[in-house]
């Protein structure tokens, strides 16, 4: 292990620890916040549901940029970044869908509604899951990276639909708090932003770890080719 990767590891672990400390503190603070007047305690799920959604959308945007850069440069580092960030984003989007469904069970009396926001978010999850399945189906590395990059760019079309669906159509999903005319008390906003920061940090650490696994996978493929050639 060289000196640079030693430092990189330390920074990575430090970022992970900082994120976990912030989250532990936030869980304590959120538990002490008063209940929301209309919805009661279940409203507090917003402190997790929205940040994981925003993190997943950021991951999709990074995957789009990496995919475009791969198609332009043919540099496999961008392909590795795209797959790493897509996988992490998928896990966060799954957490978003599940927390939303549980909130809906209490507030709407049903686990799921086929409205524009929920449906487009589910389609988004399926599109990015298909991206990962596509990668497994294609053997040849250059072909795999090219097909995957094109699919990732296509999948991103759904991301603005997910974000703006609540503005474009009448949905059962509520309007957003921050750009839908609602507001948070200042101390609630601070907790929300800290939670957001912690979750983005966790997603970044996960992406870097996953990126290293892609490097290891490439080393393994190269060793296999050498073994076959001998």
């Amino acid at each position: 292990m060289n000196e640079n990767s030693g430092w990189a590891n330390k920074v990575l672990y430090l970022a992970g620890v900082v994120a976990m400390v912030i989250l532990a503190r936030d869980i304590n603070v959120i538990a002490r916040l008063p209940q929301e007047a209309q919805q009661g305690a279940i409203f507090k799920i917003i402190f997790f549901h929205v940040p994981v959604a925003i993190t997943a959308m950021i991951a999709a945007a990074v995957a789009l940029i990496a995919s475009v850069l791969f198609l332009i440069t043919r540099n496999f580092r961008y392909d590795a970044l795209a797959v790493a960030v897509t996988e992490v984003g998928l896990a966060f989007l799954a957490a978003n869908l599940v927390t939303g469904s549980i909130w809906g069970r209490i507030i709407w009396g049903q686990w799921w509604a086929w409205d524009a926001r929920l449906t487009s978010a589910l389609v988004c999850w399926i599109l990015y899951a298909a991206y990962l399945m596509l990668r497994r189906a294609v053997e040849e590395p250059t072909q795999r990276a090219t097909f995957a990059a094109v699919w990732s760019i296509f999948s991103f079309i759904d991301v603005p639909i997910v974000i703006f669906s609540i503005k474009w159509w009448r949905t059962q999903h509520p309007q957003p708090v921050f750009w839908g005319g609602g507001s948070f008390p200042p101390d609630w906003t601070a907790v929300f932003l800290w939670n957001m920061l912690a979750l983005v940090l966790i997603a970044t650490v996960m992406t870097v770890v996953r990126l290293r696994q892609e490097d290891a996978q490439r080393e393994l493929d190269s060793l296999r080719r050498t073994a076959h050639a001998m």
Partner: protein
Amino acid sequence: MHLSSIPILFAQMASPDDIVREAARLQRNYEYLSYGLTVAWVILVIYVLLMVSRERKLRREIASLKAMLEDRQKA
């Protein structure tokens, strides 16, 4: 009559059934909040565990292939 006395009046008028129902609603609210947060964390923890297992598998395979290649070179 002051407006602030309305909730007190309501509380006095509410039947024991209403109070029990409201307590059950609050309880259910907290239960589902805890389910939501638990399930979300479980998803992320499962993903981390999958990453750890993949990392171990990759390291094992790389080590065994390197050992095999060294053996072949010696032979």
